[in-house]
Symmetry: C2
Subunit: 217 residues, 2 copies
DNA sequence: TAGACATTACATCGATCGGTGTAGCGAATG
DNA sequence: CATTCGCTACACCGATCGATGTAATGTCTA
C-alpha cells in the first residue's frame, strides 16, 4: 500500500493528461467523460494515457489527489494570510471570506465541480479512499481554520468550545448563498454582502439582546 | 409547455416505475442507471417504461419532480409543526432541527442522493428546469422557514433583517456536520449535540461579550 | 550511430446501453 | 364473444466506450 510507483513517460505529458482529465471529469463526470475526449483535451494520444495510468479509475483518483492538494494548499495559504494577525475581527473575517470565495471563481474552479461529482458517486467510492481524501482536503483546511480560531479565542475575542465545529460553521456561513444561488458568485457587491451577513451571524447570531449603550424596556 | 399529458397505462405500474427509478437514479446516477436495471427494480418490463415515458430524460425529470414535491411537503409540515407556536425558542429550534434531520434518514433518504446527482450534472441541466426545481423544492421550504422566522422576529425574540438569508443560515447550521461526516447521522446523541451547537451559533454566535449577571473586567 | 523508450495513429474486441419492433398473453369492456 | 389495451418476453440495431494490439515515428542517451 505504501509502495511508491516510479513515474513512467514524459512528465509534461502526464501533467497535460491530468489537467485535461480534470477539465472533463469536472464538466461531465466520471462515467460521461470518455477517454478519447480526455486524450483530445490533453492533446495526447489515447494510448499514451494507458502508458501513464493503468486504469480510468486510477486516472480519476490521481486527478482528485492532485487537485485536492493544490486547492488545500491555496486555502491554507488564505487562512494564514488573513487570520494570523487580526486587528478588527469582523472586518478581517469578511476579507478572509472574500478571498475564500475568490477561489471558487479562480482557475481552481473545476475542482469544485469535481467535488460535486465525488459527492454524487460517494456510494461507489471505497471508504478508505474517501476518508483519505477528506482528511487531506477539506479536513486539512478545517483543522487549519480551527487552529486559527482557537488562537483568536485564546486572546479572549471569541468564546469557542469546539474550534473544529466553529470552523465548519464559519465555512458554511461564508458561502451560504452559494448553495442556493450560484449566479451571485459574480456580483462583487452582492457577494460582499453575503459574506458580511455570514460573518455577522457567525459572530453575533440572531437573538435579540439588550443594547449596552441604550436602555431598553 | 402547459399542456397536460393524459396518463397512459396502469397507474400502479407507473408509480412502481417512478419509485424504482428513484432508487437507481439516486444510487447510480443518471448515466449509470440502466433502463433494464430500473425495469427490474420496478418489477416491470423494459418495454413498459417506454409506454409511460417517451424518454429516459423524461423519466428522470418526472422522478425529480415527484420526489421534490413529496420532500418539500414533508419539510413544510415539519416547519409548521415545530415553529408555529414557540415557547422556548432555543429548545424548539433544536427539536425542529432534529425532526429536520430525521428526514435525511427516513424513507425519503434516496431523494437527497438524487439531489447530489443533480448538483453534479448541474451544467447539463437546462436553466429553466433548474430554476423550476429550485423554486418548488428548496426555495419553497426556505420561504416557509423564512416566514416563520419573520413572525418570531416580529414578536421581538429575534433581530432579523433578511428572513430568507436567516433561514438559509439556520438550515446550514442545523446540518453542519452532515457535510463532513455522514456517519454521525446515525448516532442520536452526537446528532443532537450537532443540532444544539448549530442552533446556538444561529442564536448567539461566537463573539465573547460581557455577561449580564456578573461583572467582567 | 545504435539501442531503448515514449508517443502516435489506427484497428479492433467485447460489453453495455438506449431505444425499437414484434408477437403473444391476460384482463377489462362492450 | 369480440375488441381493445396494456403488459411481457425476446430479439435486435446502432452507437458508445474502455481497453488492448500493433506497427511506425520520433527522441534522448550511451
Amino acid at each position: 500500500m505504501t509502495e511508491r510507483k516510479k513515474p513512467v513517460g514524459q512528465p509534461d505529458k502526464r501533467r497535460a493528461i491530468v489537467t485535461g482529465a480534470l477539465t472533463l471529469f469536472a464538466r461531465d463526470g466520471y462515467t460521461r467523460a470518455g477517454l478519447d475526449a480526455i486524450a483530445a483535451e490533453a492533446g495526447v494520444s489515447n494510448r499514451t494515457i494507458y502508458n501513464h495510468f493503468t486504469d480510468k479509475a486510477e486516472l480519476f483518483q490521481t486527478v482528485i489527489q492532485e487537485s485536492t492538494r493544490r486547492v488545500a494548499d491555496t486555502m491554507v495559504d488564505i487562512i494564514d494570510r488573513h487570520l494570523s494577525k487580526v486587528v478588527d475581527l469582523e472586518a478581517d473575517l469578511v476579507d478572509f471570506g472574500m478571498a475564500w470565495l475568490g477561489v471558487l471563481t479562480s482557475d481552481l474552479a473545476p475542482h469544485f465541480a469535481l467535488i460535486r461529482q465525488i459527492n454524487a458517486e460517494i456510494e461507489h467510492i471505497p471508504p478508505a479512499a474517501l476518508e483519505l481524501w477528506r482528511d487531506s482536503g477539506p479536513g486539512r483546511t478545517r483543522r487549519e481554520l480551527a487552529e486559527r480560531l482557537r488562537r483568536i479565542a485564546e486572546r479572549g475575542e471569541l468564546a469557542i468550545d469546539d474550534p473544529a465545529r466553529a470552523a465548519g460553521h464559519l465555512m458554511l456561513l461564508i458561502s451560504a448563498d452559494n448553495l442556493t444561488d450560484r449566479a451571485a458568485l459574480h456580483d462583487e457587491s452582492a457577494l460582499r454582502e453575503m459574506v458580511a451577513a455570514g460573518v455577522h451571524t457567525f459572530l453575533h447570531g440572531y437573538v435579540r439582546r439588550p443594547r449596552h449603550d441604550a436602555g431598553e424596556q
